[in-house]
Amino acid sequence: MTASSASTSETGTASAPPAVLEVRDLSVHFRQGRGHPPLRAVDGVSFAVRAGETVGLVGESGSGKSTIGRAVLGLNPVTEGRISFAGDDITRAAPRVRRRLSSRLQVVFQDPYSSLNPARTIGQTLAEPLLVHEKSGRAETAERVAAMLRRVGMPADAADRYPGQFSGGQRQRIAIARALMLSPQLVICDEPVSALDLSIQAQVMNLLAELQDELALSYLFIAHDLPVVRHLSHRVLVLYRGQVLESGDAGAVYDRPAHPYTQALLAAAPEPDPAAQRARRASRAAAKAEPGPPSPTGCVFAHRCPQVADRCRTERPELRVLAPEPAPRAVACHLVDELP
């Protein structure tokens, strides 16, 4: 299968650092009740995250990007495929294995309001991972909590307060602190800055970048906002309806999108420059998608694709590797050679 060969080529190179996370042909299907076919939330996705690397998952709602993150964390059952973490298969890890894994694999969620328990102090929340893994004394725990709070730019006395007393940006800092309490290798960042205001978003993005440099963290960065993903990721995967339509070096995908969907996505994001945006609008108006139902056997994007050919409606394109290392690029499109 070409989909998996793409990831093999990414991870198989001898010089590349070993993969922290490797996802192979991952599928997550959800039952939709009697008489409905299962929803293919994730449909044969493969990728790897290496040490110190940020891999971005981009896509609109329903693209399956968050489901992939939840599957890696063991919060969603996996239908097919294999997820390995530092070489160990964790696809259907037992609770005990998961618990041990939790010191190395962590998460920051999108909603800083729901991700902290309002009834528990910040100190209690941050000490929680320590209780599970390293039974440290009260004084030592308090010290580590205070040190981590200072590291994410919060006052140490925040430990005695409740989430309700903090703003969204501060809460997101606290959520990041919780994820880093046990010095993990990989942090799943599920839309970590989407709920934040622009000036706060920049602060948190800088914090994530600093922490990565300092702690050699790997991130699986899930977001819908292309500029945000572009800024923080080394490589990106563009997802649509549970499938990878394009993957590659973040800068290359952003500057020279190959798949019509990636192009549409980039063209749709309004540019904060009135003159450039006027030009972009004019060019976008020319390439308008004709509405129609999605094709069950063909390309998942065919019904919205401006360049659609007959073949696209009947035959699903495989993810083809266009460029090898060091700037890998893979695209799932029949017309990839004819595209502008």
Binding site: L75, R98, F109, S114, N117, R161, Q203, H231, A269
Partner: protein, 640 residues
């Protein structure tokens, strides 16, 4: 403030409960009751069964503080010794009620699946049983055994608690902090104990207190019927029974028999409420009230008006909407402070800022729909030459036909119980005179106007059958029903996917071209501003800080906040370099300084900035800014 909060947190629950006067009284009564009944011999010199046939049915006296009954027994001693069985009964029934209710409620909600099915069905079955009959059956099997009766009663009461806690757990189970705890490696038991149970504390306490109060009366009822403690053993129910037999000769007896019971029931209720309030007061306070210790009253903030503001104080004669010096207070706190802006016919104006800057409240103020009991305390809102601020009737007249509104959440604008077409037709008929058929035809026309494919089919659909983008289109169609001359759109595309956002923005532009409608677009997204707006008004901390044509503002922002906000946009980021940021956060209304409100976050701030309110100045024709460093900004050609 941090110190205060820390101190408050560390204070024990008991101290926090006892800060409440009602709780003090309730606790005092219950402590007295428990102490007096357990140590009854210390409080009374008479035995509960000691008869004194020379002094029967007496009122209170020095010898018998609460009088005597028909056999001359001391009522105080009977009350105290009888109270023991009441307390034991309450403790037993409550323990059974809580253990079963909490365990099964949490288990059913958290585990779901067949466990949930079994527990819920079991609870349903228990509800169908006639409680008092079951208790009587138990008492007939174990005659006079109050323990058995109370345990049974605890079991019979538990299904109510099970159902409440199950529903709560179902909600909490889906919260992200539970997912985060799972990822942190906590076991299910730890998650339930640390995350689920604390959120339920208030419900459990209130339900427990209510149940305890019911047990007191039920236990007394059983005693009254002679089913509890067997005479001559004392019990509260037995006291009532004795009193009722002598009610014509000694009505006083009802007082010692009944009053303690009433007081106990009331005390349990009060204590339950107090503990609940105290248990959650640390975290269950709204941000605005918690973070505002002696917040500065709005009156003392000087209205920041100066010479330059006066220059534009008169409404613009050719504007469709002209807002002047609009000031809005919510809960006595000024949240919008002297905002002035104009929207010309057919023009699109962006109202830009971060959350907490007052842009949404300003837009709702224009419509006269300020949330949270807020009101306009100053300024003018002139629409089409008529000042509608503080004139609810005039405002109501222009709403819909003059000014329409689209919010971020189309789901809120639409009624889920009516088909889309019917809602649209109804809106059409409130604005223009036409028959049912005409309104329906117009509704289909509106759906077509917002590019809904197959309007006739969509008109028959309900809200839940629409995608987010489709629902926003319908919400826009609804807003267009009254053929408004101005549309206020509050973050109309923020909740939508980027490709859908592009379609909605294109749609708004097209409608404007076709109908000549003006748009006031509230947004935080510079891309959206660049795409749709001709002019932009930037708000910060309740004030307008900059106003300019979009090209000019993007090329040369003349306020450090505008420039900082634009630079923080990752669109312009250089990969591998830190994003330019604005340190700190937007100050809350009670934190507004008297000088420049942005000074604390501004890298250009000087002493002068904090000294006095900064007026709006007009450095360039058609542009205004609220910065005293505008001269140097102009020389540098803006900030970027």
């Amino acid at each position: 403030m941090g110190m205060d909060n820390a101190k408050k947190t560390r204070q024990g629950l008991a101290r926090r409960v006892l800060r409440r006067p009602a709780a003090v009284i309730a606790v005092a009564w219950l402590v007295l009751l428990v102490a007096a009944t357990t140590a009854a011999p210390l409080f009374t010199s008479y035995g509960a069964l000691e008869q004194d046939l020379g002094n029967v049915l007496e009122g209170p006296s020095a010898d018998h503080l609460l009088g005597t009954d028909v056999l001359g027994r001391d009522l105080l001693s009977r009350l105290l010794f009888g109270g023991r069985s009441t307390l034991v009964a309450v403790a037993e029934a409550l323990a059974v009620f809580l253990v079963i209710g909490v365990t099964l409620g949490l288990l059913a909600g958290y585990r779901g699946g067949w466990v949930d099915w079994l527990v819920t069905r079991g609870a349903d079955l228990m509800f169908a049983l006639p409680g008092i009959v079951i208790v009587l059956v138990v008492l007939s099997v174990f005659p006079g055994n109050l323990h058995a009766a109370m345990i049974t009663f605890g079991i019979l009461g538990a299904p109510g608690l099970i159902r409440i806690l199950r529903a709560q757990t179902l909600t909490i189970r889906e919260e992200l902090f539970v997912a985060a705890a799972k990822v942190a490696g906590l076991t299910h038991g730890q998650i339930l104990r640390r995350h689920v149970l604390p959120r339920m504390a208030s419900i459990i306490i209130v339900q427990g207190a209510l149940f305890a109060a019911i047990v007191v009366t039920i236990q007394a009822g059983l005693g009254f019927l002679g089913l509890g403690a067997q005479p001559p053993e004392p019990s509260w129910g037995g006291l009532v029974a004795d009193a009722s037999q002598s009610i014509d000769r000694a009505p006083w007896m009802l007082v010692p028999a009944g009053v303690p019971m009433v007081l106990t029931v009331v005390a349990l209720g009060l204590l339950g409420d107090a503990i609940r309030d105290a248990a959650i007061e640390n975290w269950a306070v709204s941000r605005s009230s918690s973070a505002q210790p002696g917040g500065r009253p709005a009156e003392r903030i000087p209205a920041q008006r100066a010479a330059a503001d006066d220059a534009v104080a008169a409404p613009a004669p050719d504007a469709l909407l002209s807002v002047r010096d609009l000031t809005i207070e919510i809960g006595g706190l000024r949240v919008v402070d002297g905002v002035s802006l104009d929207v010309a016919p057919g023009e699109t104006v962006g109202l830009v800022g971060e959350s907490g800057c007052g842009k949404s409240v300003t837009s709702l103020g224009i419509l006269g729909l300020i949330p949270g009991g807020g009101r306009i305390t100053g300024g003018r809102v002139v629409f089409d030459g008529v000042d509608v601020a503080g004139a609810p009737e005039a405002m109501a007249r222009i709403r819909g036909t003059g000014i329409a509104y689209v919010s971020q959440e189309p789901m809120v604008a639409l009624d889920p119980t009516y088909a889309v077409g019917r809602q649209l037709a109804e809106a059409v008929r409130t604005h223009r005179r036409c028959d049912r058929k005409g309104a329906h035809a117009r509704a289909l026309e509106l759906l077509d106007l917002v590019h809904i494919p197959d309007p006739a089919a969509v008109a028959r659909r309900y809200l839940h059958q629409l995608s987010g983008g489709m629902a926003q289109r319908v919400a826009i169609a609804l807003a267009l029903a009254g053929e408004p001359r101005l549309l206020i759109a509050d973050e109309p595309t923020t909740a939508l996917d980027v490709t859908v956002q592009a379609e909605i923005l294109g749609l708004l532009r097209e409608i404007q071209e076709r109908t000549g409608m003006a748009v006031l677009l509230v947004t935080h997204d510079w891309g959206v501003v660049a795409d749709l707006c001709r002019r932009a008004v930037v708000m910060y901390a309740g004030q307008v800080v900059e106003q300019a044509d979009v090209d000019g503002m993007f090329a040369h922002p003349l306020h450090p906040y505008t420039g900082g906000l634009m630079a923080a946009n990752p669109h312009h980021a250089v990969h591998g370099e830190a994003l330019p940021t604005i340190p700190g956060t937007v100050p809350a209304p009670y934190e507004w300084p008297s000088g420049c409100r942005f000074a604390a976050r501004c890298d250009r701030a000087t002493e002068e900035c904090a000294a006095a309110p900064v007026p709006l100045s007009l450095p360039v024709p058609g542009r205004s800014t609220r910065c005293i460093h505008v001269g140097s900004l102009l020389q540098e050609g803006g900030l970027r």
